[in-house]
């Protein structure tokens, strides 16, 4: 069931928010010991919120499509009175006295928060193998990772525990678990959704966005979240739109770029075929597919990593005396950031501007790009390398090749399930657009979703 379907059922009095919330909590109780998607479950508060939601609907006070819908947020978003760990032992006892902007807006829209999802420690990694709160398992195959860093959110949505879970994305952390868990993940434009109250990993690369079971649901959530927030210095005043796409929209007049270079090399069997099939479906919906050449995205990824290393080390430097309590993989990244110089950082930021100039030329040719989200389906737990005919590469930089660079430019992107690989694991197609083109991205995604076979939920 999607948010749209649940919202219709709530208004038709076929179901109540309390029933939806109890079902969510039952499912969490049943499957979370195995999946470890949650760090904290707020069952009593959720049921109280659900009762209020039902009462309000009965009184004719309708807060919109999220009213009474059980959702979760990654444990990187501050929640008043509920601990917010950022997946780390360092923040294990941190109980904020305020809500993050995202949480405020979800509550104002009537959503029912059932808990805080597990994640890669400090949102700094792609496996969500959390050493303190348990390794999150992929609902499609518990021996595989769900992706990260928003792995608990991806697993919770894929396992039907919640209708929507919020993620954060610094170098792909919404889109990676979305692709590997077979759900929709939307990273909006930098500044579109407030980051106030989101524990930072990187000041200039972090984004917040929803993970859902459908494109329409992602749009509904963006409608609730988008908007200027004076408490976030990077928040944008760019005009808002209704992000919800029409039913099975036409793509007439939309030019979709299909990269000829970089995005289709070193990909696992089935990945290129699935995305090319999606391109054909877009064409059937009226879009024009334009082959395009993209600049040196590999170099952009490296520069993005340098910025991340330095800024994340700066964020965590006040806690250096406790770095021994951080998992080894994350600690090594923080240490690397300490060794890069101020000059290196400024040069990386100068290159960031130049690279944006280089890459943005693509927007003179096309409205959006269609690429694979990930070069591989979800890897098995413990895998550290990608193996190709012409060599190997480390899992983290290798797997994030297609998602990382655009965070440097703040561009919006969405990952959409686009089929299964030969092993039956979900694959994602990524739609990338210029700043503030979320409505168009969602329209393209909705058209593809309407034509792609819908994935059956994973057997748990």
């Amino acid at each position: 069931m999607t948010i749209r379907e649940a919202a219709a059922a709530l208004r038709a009095r076929r179901i109540s928010s309390v029933e939806l919330t109890k079902a969510a909590l039952d499912r969490i109780a049943r499957y979370d010991p195995r999946l470890r998607a949650f760090i904290t479950v707020t069952g009593d508060e959720a049921l109280a919120a659900a009762r209020r939601a039902d009462q309000e609907l009965a009184e004719g006070r309708d807060r919109g499509p999220l009213h009474g819908i059980p959702v979760a947020v990654k444990d990187v978003f501050a929640t008043r009175g509920v601990r917010t760990t950022c997946g780390s032992k360092i923040f294990a006892d941190y109980v904020p006295d305020f809500d993050a902007a995202v949480v405020e807006r979800l509550r104002a829209a009537g959503a029912v928060l059932v808990g805080k999802t597990n994640m890669h420690e400090l949102a700094y990694g792609i496996t969500s193998a959390n050493p303190h709160y348990g390794a999150v398992c992929n609902p499609w195959d518990p021996e595989r990772v769900p992706g990260g860093s928003s792995g608990g959110s991806g697993a919770a949505v894929a396992a039907g525990m919640v209708f929507m879970a919020m993620g954060s994305d610094t170098g792909g952390s919404i889109r990676i678990p979305a692709a590997w868990c077979g759900v929709v993940g939307l990273k909006p434009t930098f500044g579109r959704v407030s980051r106030y109250g989101m524990l930072p990993l990187d000041f200039t690369l972090d984004h917040a966005g929803p993970m859902t079971r459908s494109v329409h649901d992602a749009a509904l959530v963006l409608n609730a979240l988008a908007g200027f927030d004076p408490r976030d210095d990077t928040s944008s005043r760019h005009p808002l739109e209704d992000y919800v796409p029409p039913e099975d929209p036409s793509l007439q007049g939309i030019r979709i770029g299909l990269p000829e270079n970089f995005y289709f090399t070193r990909v696992a069997p089935g990945v290129a075929e699935a995305v090319q099939k999606a391109a054909q479906l877009a064409e059937q919906a009226g879009a024009t597919i334009i082959p395009v050449r993209v600049p040196d995205v590999a170099a952009m990824n490296q520069i993005s990593r340098i910025i991340l290393l330095v800024e994340a080390a700066a964020v965590m430097q006040p806690y250096m005396e406790r770095w021994r309590e951080i998992g080894e993989d994350v600690r090594l990244l923080l240490e690397q950031g300490l060794l890069l110089s101020a000059t290196d950082y400024v040069q990386a930021q100068r290159l960031r501007r130049l690279m944006r100039e280089e890459y943005r030329k693509v927007w003179r040719q096309v409205h959006c790009l269609l690429t694979p989200t990930m070069p591989i389906p979800a890897p098995r737990r413990g895998e550290t390398h990608l193996r190709w005919e012409d060599g190997t590469e480390d899992l983290r930089p290798g797997a994030t090749r297609f998602v990382r660079a655009i965070n440097m430019f703040g561009w919006p992107a969405l990952s959409l399930p686009c089929g299964l690989d030969p092993q039956g694991l979900p694959l994602g197609a990524q739609i990338i657009g210029p700043p503030f083109s979320e409505a168009r991205i969602l329209r393209v995604a909705a058209a593809l979703e309407a034509r792609l076979p819908r994935l059956a939920p994973p057997a748990l």
């Binding site: 520069i303 943005r360 927007w363």
Partner: protein
């Protein structure tokens, strides 16, 4: 007195760590070095070609792409 010679070469990450007073474990340094070498190679190559007037994008904001179709 000899005049200084400025060259671009790979930093000695161990010396840098020691100079900064970071007491990083040997096994961590061993794993960090090749990663930083790889990143630094890309950075220094590109940085050598940055135009003089290129400013950093530190105060990052997203704006509408004026030239987008």
């Amino acid at each position: 007195m000899r005049s200084p010679r400025y060259t671009t070469c790979m930093p000695d990450w161990r010396l840098l760590a020691a100079a900064r007073g970071l007491n990083l474990p040997e096994e961590d340094l061993h794993r960090i070095e090749p990663v930083l070498d790889e990143l630094y190679a890309v950075l220094s190559d590109r940085a050598a070609r940055i135009p003089l007037t290129a400013e950093p994008l530190i105060n990052f904001r997203c704006e509408v792409e004026e030239e987008a179709i």
